[in-house]
Structures are given as structure tokens and as C-alpha cells.
Symmetry: C2
């Protein structure tokens, strides 16, 4: 039995959805970020980074969304969540997910976690102010170039889709004009029609859109 | 014939080394960041993100280091650069590389590319000031927990090693006390003893350490 540590509103939703899509046996454990549970001594034993997601497997604990998503796809191959045997196609999947984790998630994080990168209160406010512009720039590239449609990689649903859906769920909070992202919004609608997505979203109690 | 676009001193060195390790047929094309060649109309056709690395393959162009490294490992399996058929072990590789791209590289980038995340000159200076602390924190975790030794994943050299080596080559410039990172520095020495590393480093004309 796998165990997923998550908190609502975080990127852990991507792995949560992927586990549902895969029909994986798993338990989801909610951490209360309000009481800083991710920094508790008990949790730091699970994940020394003090963040979510973390996935406890039969072989050990994994963190970092692109790694977790690849694990789910490869561990449950019948779900066909990634083109595992095609080096170019699999690299495209990891390319997209790397862009989400290293550029898009990072752009978003400057609105809430600026203290990671500066100590000065005015600097943290300056970072917050730029989030709508940086997130708009990232999603403009996704809208125009990266999202093939209907799914990220085209006709086949992959581990890119729950990850894009999760990060796109932050757009309204980041004050991005979603009216200019019709293809991303259509992707959201397609995602919300999937039972696995509905189940993970309901379990987390997350409000999308 | 693969074509790798790179600039000296960037994370493209990781893929450059991996291509050498794999014995891949490739051509390395240097972009002159001084003249903003990564923003030229010609290059934006290759990579709309305007960054390096980009790898032109027989199937199309790939970007983002964790995707490129996985591609090299899977496309040239005889080099055994990743545990491709073990879902947990491969996820650990992607976990480590995701941490490098989304946390460590991002921490470093605040010293030179702060304008990505704030428009205010004082805020950009505040970000620069914090780089030694954030990079020290990242590498403390790598030193204590993530680097198994002698290679990142233990006894087997993988695509994590050129990536760690590349990002660790920025430590002195980021004013991190490498005296407190003996295992990371030992990893650097092991890397510099490999012919593939020597060849890529010499081709880029990069000074390490």
C-alpha cells in the first residue's frame, strides 16, 4: 500500500490524480500546513525537505512531482500514463513536467514563498507584484506552443495532464486573465470530466476555478 | 547526428557530459550569450524559451535538462546511465534531477537573473545577497542526505552525476564555503578524472573550482 502525503492547494494534487488514474492501492494523508505539520520532527523523518508531496513506497520514500509521476506511470504500466518505451516521447513528457516544476511552479511560488529567496520585506512585496506577469508569460507559452490538445501530449492522456491541471488551478489566485487561455481552460474542463480527477479533487476538498 | 546548443557556464554542460559518456554522435553548437544569441529570431525557432540547452534530435527538439538527460540514457542504453527498468530507482534519479532543476538551479539563478522575478532594483539586490545562504542550504542537504557516494546514486554512475557536477561548479561563484562540503568536492574530483568530463569541460573552455 502506497502512502501519499499531501496538503490541499499544493502540487501534490498531480500525484494524487495520477494514483487514481492508475488504479493504485494507496492511502492519502493530509498534512496541516496551518500548524506547520510539514516541519514537524515526525514528518521531517519522512521527507527531510519539509514539503509535499512525499510518496512512501515498498522500496522507500520518493519526493519531487516529476519523479513521482514517472514512478506511478512505470509502476502501473497498464494505465498507459506515459510512452515508456519511446525515448523521444518520454523525454518530451519529462521536458514538459520539468518546465512546470522549474519555471511555472517557481513563478507561482514568488507570490507566497518569497522569503525563500530574499529576507527584505520590500523585496518580497516586489516579487508578489510580478507574479501575474510571470505566470501570464509561462501560460502564454503553454497555450500557444506546449499544449498540443486535447491533452498536453496530443491524443494520449499522460502524467503531464494532472500536473498541468494542478498548476493551472492556481491561475485565478495569481490574477492571470484566464480569458486569454481558452485552450488551457478547455483542458481544465476535460480534466474535470474524468472520474479520477473528480475523486482526487473531492478528497482534497479543493475548489478549482 | 544530434545537435546540442550550449553556452559555457550554463547547465547545458550536464547534457554535454552525458552525450560524451554515452558515446553519442553529436555536434555541440556554442551560443554567444554576450550578444544575446539565445534571443535571436533564428534560435527562438529552435527553442522558443530562448535558453540553453536545446538538443535537436532525429525526432524533433528537446529542452530542459532532466528531460534531455533521460533521453540520452534511454536512447543509448548500452552506456547504462540510468536504471531504466526499475521504477523506484529511475524515480529516484528523476527525483534528484528535479531537485537540482527546481530548487538548486533556481536558488543560483537569483544571483544573476533576479529580473525574472521582480522589476525593482533593490529587490534584485536583496535576492543576490541571499544566494550564498540558499545555495549553502541546498548543498548541505545534498552533502548530508542525497549524495550516496561515490556517485549520487551510490555505486553506479548515472545521469545525476554530470548534473550535480555542473551545478556544483557554481559554488565558488555563489560564495559557498566548499570546505564544509567534503563529499561534494570528492564527487567533483571523481568527475574530473573521467575522460568524458574532461572532454566536455575542455570543449566548453570552462574553468571548474
Amino acid at each position: 500500500m502506497l502512502k501519499l502525503y499531501y496538503a490541499p492547494g499544493t502540487c501534490a494534487l498531480a500525484t494524487h490524480i495520477a494514483l487514481e488514474e492508475a488504479g493504485a492501492p494507496y492511502e492519502a494523508v493530509r498534512l496541516d500546513f496551518g500548524s506547520q505539520a510539514q516541519r514537524s520532527p515526525e514528518y521531517l523523518v519522512v521527507n527531510p525537505k519539509g514539503r509535499v508531496p512525499a510518496l512512501v513506497t515498498e522500496s522507500g520514500t520518493l519526493t519531487e512531482t516529476p519523479g513521482l509521476l514517472l514512478f506511478v506511470a512505470q509502476r502501473f504500466p497498464d494505465a498507459e500514463l506515459a510512452p515508456l518505451s519511446d525515448p523521444f516521447a518520454l523525454a518530451q513528457v519529462q521536458e514538459f513536467n520539468s518546465y512546470l516544476c522549474s519555471t511555472v511552479h517557481v513563478a507561482h511560488a514568488h507570490g507566497r514563498r518569497g522569503a525563500r529567496w530574499a529576507d527584505d520585506a520590500a523585496a518580497i512585496e516586489a516579487m508578489k507584484r510580478k507574479v501575474p506577469a510571470t505566470m501570464t508569460e509561462c501560460f502564454d507559452l503553454i497555450e500557444r506552443k506546449l499544449l498540443k490538445g486535447p491533452w498536453v501530449m496530443g491524443e494520449h492522456y499522460t502524467i503531464c495532464d494532472p500536473y498541468l491541471f494542478t498548476i493551472a488551478s492556481w491561475l485565478e489566485g495569481d490574477r492571470v486573465d484566464t480569458g486569454k487561455l481558452p485552450r488551457v481552460m478547455e483542458h481544465r474542463r476535460h480534466m474535470l470530466a474524468r472520474p479520477a480527477v473528480q475523486k482526487a479533487v473531492a478528497a482534497e476538498g479543493t475548489q478549482i476555478g
